[in-house]
Symmetry: C2
Subunit: 152 residues, 2 copies
């Protein structure tokens, strides 16, 4: 796999949340998400444990259970999700925690990394799950069966 700095945890988490969001109020099971997105069911469980504890999704236990968004999708930013599942989005450690480097204030690259961090946080912070769901809708995959007759 070619290198990347956003882990599959955050990637899968985002994709799964879009899927969950598409269902609206109805709970969606991870099994459904897993097959629809081609992901590991058990790995998703791990991810959703974190999302639930963070108050991003609510769970419904038992048969016909699953997950739904705990908030409206416009109140969930990509930044929140990625930071939660990734731990951090900072390019270098000193951007977040100044104690990890003894050369703070002496390092010529400080401004550079700080600008990169700012740019990333800006993109992720201004994009909400609602935006992603809308984009996903534009791809209009698998149109709902009951809408099929409207076409052609």
């Amino acid at each position: 796999m070619s290198p990347m700095w956003v882990s599959t945890k955050a990637q899968y988490g985002m994709r799964a949340l879009i899927e969950i969001g598409l269902a609206g109020d109805r709970a969606t099971s991870l099994k459904t998400v897993a097959t629809r997105e081609g992901l590991s069911h058990q790995y998703l469980e791990q991810i959703f444990a974190v999302l639930r504890r963070a108050g991003i999704v609510d769970s419904v236990r038992g048969a016909r259970g699953g997950y739904r968004l705990a908030r409206t999708p416009d109140r969930i930013t990509a930044l929140e999700v990625v930071e939660l599942l990734e731990g951090s989005v900072a390019p270098v450690s000193c951007v977040e925690d100044e104690d990890t480097c003894d050369r703070v204030g002496v390092c010529g690259t400080e401004g550079l990394w700080r600008d990169v961090d700012r740019a990333v946080r800006d993109v992720l912070g201004t994009r909400t799950l609602a935006d992603l769901i809308a984009e996903r809708d534009l791809l209009h995959l698998e149109p709902a069966p009951d809408l099929q007759h409207l076409g052609a």
Copy 2:
């Protein structure tokens, strides 16, 4: 160490290049860079082997040897250095290589990662080593001994 996605290789490489750049035409040894920046000499050798092969620095062998910039610092972007030492700066693999994911054109997060990638490349691509050297100069550390008398 707190998490980060720019490796020490790229970080150290940038810092070392600033140090090399400050010396202008004169070759600077890695030993000097290592002590000045508090880095491992042997690790720097590994990094500079890559920088040299990429045509970013020239080497001077033998005693009193070292490295100097192969181009003027305004022709070396942070992006070039980071991509070289990091391999890639893409947040997820599909941004660079579409074959790594079978869901290209079907994935709701595609645009998001593409925007993040664009933002990062924009920041790194518009910053040259000359800029970083100038910033570093503003911190005016260790003023040259022969300029000392000009102060106070």
